[in-house]
């Protein structure tokens, strides 16, 4: 049954489908798919559609009702659990204009900087916020969460330290989820993790030390002594620091830290049952070239005016491949934008006032308890009070829960209370009563005396005494830049967010045909539940009973993803594709180790693979051996066999992408996976291209043992301008026990779908994210997509995506050669257009074509991946034929413009292509170019002769204007500036 939603999701209607099928030469969609997908891998050979566990599709209203029912199973109590996750108020102006605004959430990673100035400015604000608050020199934008940011800090320390040691020392008082992440990630890299009390003068040092500041127990301890010892020894010092606390505390940079890491969650980003949130990572000057992930920077455009771009991209993992030292790829842009805007909105004094309120509430709690004769563990703290309650911790927590609040049970004798921006004095008084009152529970009268002591003290306990050590109070200024001191009124904030959004090109303007990125529709109904408080308000370590709805949703999604991939069990923990990759490879590693095959460490990776594959393999402790590809872009079977036999005894895994990174269904895939299995290796199938497979073939059936999926591609989670991502890892049963575990998970049991039998299995592998279910609050998006599409809708989406790619390929192949095709001359869901012949003939480069597309009102396709000098186009199923034709017309027109360069009509160094993109400012001032201004800015008006008058006028009126001209990449990399430029920078240009 086709769902009513499918026709909303799929842009190609039946008449368009007929026209497109005619162009590609096929009679119907099923026949196209029969020709495109190799016969032996089709799903019908492995199981029938009737056995599918995918839901019967429902409409949008029904899906929301079902989500509402799941939401109602969650119980949102006010959380005082803390541990890196705090209640926070998302300013409504930010919720409505950023989180719920497709201009922000449907944008892609800002690799095309000219059309991404808005979010690049927001990311520079983020970096400035982090560097100011930490008092370090350079911050990136951003990390996946606090725990993985701490892991990356450890990896930087190992590279930058001059100490000849494999020991990394972690203070004992860190969050448990961070410690277990560090332990799991250190092991495959041969790093020995030592846990010690770093407040002691004789603590060990190793190549680096890591301190949580304030500590897990809430204590505020000066780490400068151990940092000074580390520096003297050549070791690197890391502070995992709470940004809100840093408005009141001496920042890490002033205490001698080389690196600071942490989360920005409590800057207005909802708890979300663990994510997504933006982690941060900042370093002192000199370490910036070791920073992983994405870094926004300032460069200049062709007019010499300041313009923003991602900087130092050559150091990203996908370029460094097996020499990479990090596999971090996706950031958390949408959440980083929210956190940065929270700082813009509140400004330095507002942030400090929030921190002071938080600290006053914590102080009030300590005072109330003291008045009732209940001691607290530490006299000095910021927001967390630890209370010794011998033998009563569980009882107290239960009583507090009864009152609608959650506190942390540290151990049977200790509870801890972390206060936040939402905390009221009444809550503090009630918690104090419940804790202190219970202290004398054996004697009712004493209990009531303690209660009345709290009650009488409530008026006098003002919380005005300062429990921050005098020597650790912050004196330095922060957020002095104008942007943090201008937008305090909601009108100003709303207009600032609108202005930045208008700078950018997102899916709400037009098609983003990025190959390998699957920029499909992120439907409004799918997005709806993300900000419901029942999903957004849960603490990741809330009791299982409170999160029953979210756990039920997780289980259903695990089942559906297992079903559609042909695997047996799925973990939703990884926060990005790269993390899913790493989790999968770590599962393979654990499997070999469990079998006693300690020597199996070689990972075979085809030369065409995405660079992140190699980076992840290195971080899983594997050695990369590259397998050649043939002229058609397929894995060279002969070379594969010889590499397998050369490394037979050491073979751990092969990583392949299917369909290939060249956008082709490789025919030999079954031979490839068989050869690896025969040699005792495991097969990792990269799921980046799953949008060409879903419903037609399954990785498990191809011989895959484990895969990661990108829910932000195939399953409709928006790209958020460069994150969040969700990268579930799916595996066959033999690897399932090694999928990511989490000691604080509400349940370690996960769906096991063996054949058609449903049971459960424990995931006990290396933890990969800080939170047990990763970015749990955005899982309703993918859940809703599957629920509304069902198997038949998903199959239609896949076939429509393949049809759209082939339609583009056929219509453009006379203008740009299509580099690779598979069986029957068909591509899969994307096609590579070869610009190299054009470059050779005319000097017009792939960059010129990409930038000229901006003038025509498009986001460029993927540039120079997987083949340099080419464009990879993935239209997806969501675009309608009018938009596909608009793109095709633009590409044909650009080709004609390039021909004019070749014919000498325009000089090679002064033509509409090399000068692209053109801005509104090009319409003013002198004009000395050999083409008209109109050709520069309204090329589509001249060349689209077939356009009817109305459409032509619409396009001219609706034109997207890039805010800057082409940006100078080399200048930005040579002159590294990664914080907000001063107003003078603009004045001087």
């Amino acid at each position: 049954m086709t769902s009513s939603f499918a026709r909303r999701h799929i842009g190609i209607d039946s008449s368009a489908q007929a026209r497109m099928l005619e162009v590609v030469g096929h009679s119907d969609l099923e026949q196209l798919m029969l020709s495109a997908v190799p016969e032996p891998i089709r799903v019908e050979h492995f199981r029938s559609a009737e056995d599918s566990f995918l839901p019967t599709p429902v409409g949008e209203r029904e899906a929301l009702e079902e989500l509402r029912a799941l939401a109602n199973l969650n119980k949102v109590r006010r959380s005082f659990i803390g541990q890196g996750y705090y209640g926070t108020i998302t300013p409504s102006v930010i919720k409505r204009n950023v989180l719920e605004n497709p201009s922000w959430y449907t944008a892609y990673t800002p690799y095309q900087p000219e059309i991404s100035q808005g979010r690049l400015e927001a990311l520079l604000n983020f970096q400035t916020m982090v560097t100011d608050l930490t008092a370090l020199d350079i911050a990136n934008a951003s990390m996946l969460d606090e725990g993985t940011a701490a892991v990356e800090a450890m990896l930087i320390a190992r590279r930058a330290s001059t100490v000849d040691s494999n020991v990394f020392v972690v203070d004992a008082d860190v969050f448990p989820q961070t410690l277990s992440l560090l332990e799991g990630r250190a092991k495959p890299l041969g790093i020995e993790l030592v846990v010690a009390d770093l407040t002691k003068d004789d603590a060990p040092l190793g190549f680096g030390v890591l301190v949580q500041y304030p500590a897990s127990s809430g204590r505020v301890v000066d780490p400068s002594a151990v940092f000074a010892r580390a520096k003297a020894a050549g070791a690197i010092s890391v502070a995992v620091a709470d940004l809100l606390a840093l408005t009141l505390l001496t920042p890490p940079g002033e205490l001698g830290a080389d690196i600071a890491a942490g989360t920005t969650q409590r800057f207005g980003v909802p708890l979300g049952f663990g994510g997504p949130h933006a982690g941060y990572l900042a370093v002192r000057s000199g370490l910036e070239r070791n920073l992983p992930g994405r870094l926004a920077g300032v460069s200049k455009d062709a007019n010499g005016e300041p313009a923003y771009r991602l900087t130092l991209q050559a150091r990203e993992q996908h370029i460094r491949r097996e020499k990479a030292t990090s596999n971090i790829c996706t950031a958390q842009v949408l959440l980083a934008v929210m956190a940065s805007m929270y700082a813009v909105y509140h400004g330095p004094s507002g942030l400090r006032a929030i921190a002071e309120d938080v600290h006053a509430a914590a102080t009030q709690l300590a005072e109330l308890l003291a008045a009732a004769g209940q001691p607290v563990a530490h006299a000095e703290f910021f927001d967390t009070v630890v209370i010794p309650v011998p033998g009563r911790a569980s009882d107290i927590a239960a009583a507090v829960a009864e009152a609608g609040m959650l506190i942390r049970v540290v151990d049977p004798d200790t509870v801890s209370v972390s206060v936040d921006e939402l905390t009221t004095r009444a809550e503090i008084a009630q918690i104090a009563r419940l804790i202190a009152g219970g202290a004398a529970s054996s004697a009712a009268s004493a209990a009531s005396a303690a209660s009345s002591a709290v009650a009488s003290a409530t008026d006098s306990a003002t919380g005005s005494s300062n429990r921050i050590p005098a020597g650790l109070r912050r004196h330095s200024a922060f957020l002095t830049h104008a942007v943090f001191n201008t937008h305090g009124s909601e009108t100003s904030m709303m207009r600032y967010l609108k202005r930045l959004a208008d700078y950018d090109y997102a899916l709400d303007r037009g098609m983003i045909p990025l190959g390998s990125c699957t920029m499909k529709l992120n439907a409004a109904t799918e997005m709806e539940a993300v900000s419901w408080p029942e999903f957004a308000g849960l603490h990741p370590f809330a009791p299982a009973a409170d999160v029953a709805g979210s756990l039920a949703l997780v289980k259903q999604l695990e089942l559906w993803l297992a079903d559609v991939t042909g695997y047996d069990s799925v973990s939703l923990q990884p926060n990005a594709g790269s993390q899913g990759e790493l989790a999968g490879l770590l599962a393979i590693r654990a499997y070999h180790l469990a079998n006693g095959d300690t020597q199996r460490t070689v990972c075979l990776i085809p030369s065409s693979a995405h660079g992140t594959n190699a980076a992840s393999a290195v971080l899983a402790g594997m050695r990369v051996v590259v397998v050649a590809c043939d002229d058609h872009g397929n894995v060279d079977l002969t070379d594969l066999r010889s590499k397998i036999s050369e490394n037979a005894n050491e073979l751990s895994a092969l990583m392949i992408t299917y369909p290939s990174t060249h956008g082709v269904y490789e025919h030999d895939v079954l031979d490839i996976t068989q050869a690896v299995h025969d040699a005792g290796g495991q097969v990792y199938v990269d799921g980046a291209n799953m949008n060409a497979m879903t419903g037609y073939a399954r990785y498990g059936d191809l011989g895959g043992d484990v895969s990661h999926l990108n829910l932000h591609k195939t399953f409709c989670i928006p790209h958020g301008g460069g994150g969040p991502g969700v990268g579930p890892v799916a595996a066959k049963a033999h690897l399932a026990p090694y999928l990511p575990g989490h000691t604080l998970a509400q349940s370690s049991q996960h769906v096991l779908l063996a054949g058609d039998t449903l049971s459960s299995i424990e995931h006990g592998g290396t933890q990969i994210s800080a939170a047990p279910y990763g970015s749990a609050s955005i899982l309703p998006i993918s859940w809703a997509y599957v629920q509304m599409m069902g198997l038949e809708g998903i199959r239609q989406a896949t076939a429509s995506a393949v049809l759209a790619a082939n339609y583009v390929a056929v219509r453009l192949r006379d203008h740009f050669p299509v580099l690779y095709t598979g069986e029957n001359g068909l591509v899969a869901h994307e096609c590579i257009l070869d610009v190299r012949p054009l470059t050779a003939a005319t000097g017009v480069t792939v960059d010129d074509v990409a930038k000229r597309l901006i003038d025509y009102g498009f986001h460029a396709p993927t540039m120079s991946f997987p083949v340099a000098g080419t464009l990879m186009v993935e239209p997806t199923e969501s675009e309608d034929i009018a938009e596909l034709d608009r793109f095709i017309d633009a590409m044909i027109a650009i080709r004609a413009e390039a021909d004019q360069v070749a014919e000498g009509v325009w000089p090679a160094d002064n033509n509409p292509l090399v000068n692209a993109p053109h801005t509104a400012a090009d319409l003013t001032g002198d004009w000395d170019r050999p083409y008209s201004r109109e050709t520069g800015v309204y090329p589509f008006a001249n060349t689209s002769s077939e356009l009817d008058a109305h459409t032509r006028v619409d396009r001219i009126r609706g034109k997207y204007w890039p805010p800057v001209r082409r940006i100078d990449n080399a200048f930005g990399d040579r002159n590294l500036v990664c914080s907000c430029p001063s107003p003078e920078a603009f004045a001087s240009s």
């Binding site: 050559a314 370029i319 460094r320 020499k323 990449n969 080399a970 990399d973 040579r974």
Partner: protein, 123 residues
Amino acid sequence: MPNPTDLKYTAEHEWLREDGDVATVGITAFAAEKLGDIVYIELPRVGTTVSAGSIVGEIESTKSVGELYSPVSGEVTEVNDAVVGSPELVNSEPFGAGWLVKVRVTALGETMDSVAYDTLTGA
């Protein structure tokens, strides 16, 4: 840009000019062109002992990050601070002002003459 005939070359696209026991080392025009716009150069400290074939520095362009291999063994006597400040010198004058390090040579690695290097690079 032709490869000067008075220099020695390596398969990793370094050149060296010998002057007594001190060799000046740089990367060839071919390498600089392949790298594209060079944006950052990391060189060893003066006094560092290097061995032929070992990694002694890093050259970063807008497109990639490459390693600098020492074509000789010996001790670094001088590094070109000018290219650290202006990496584009390596693009504009690879055989001249864009030199990278000077090494007091104790042993020479494998090198070739300009004719062989022309052949290698199809010049």
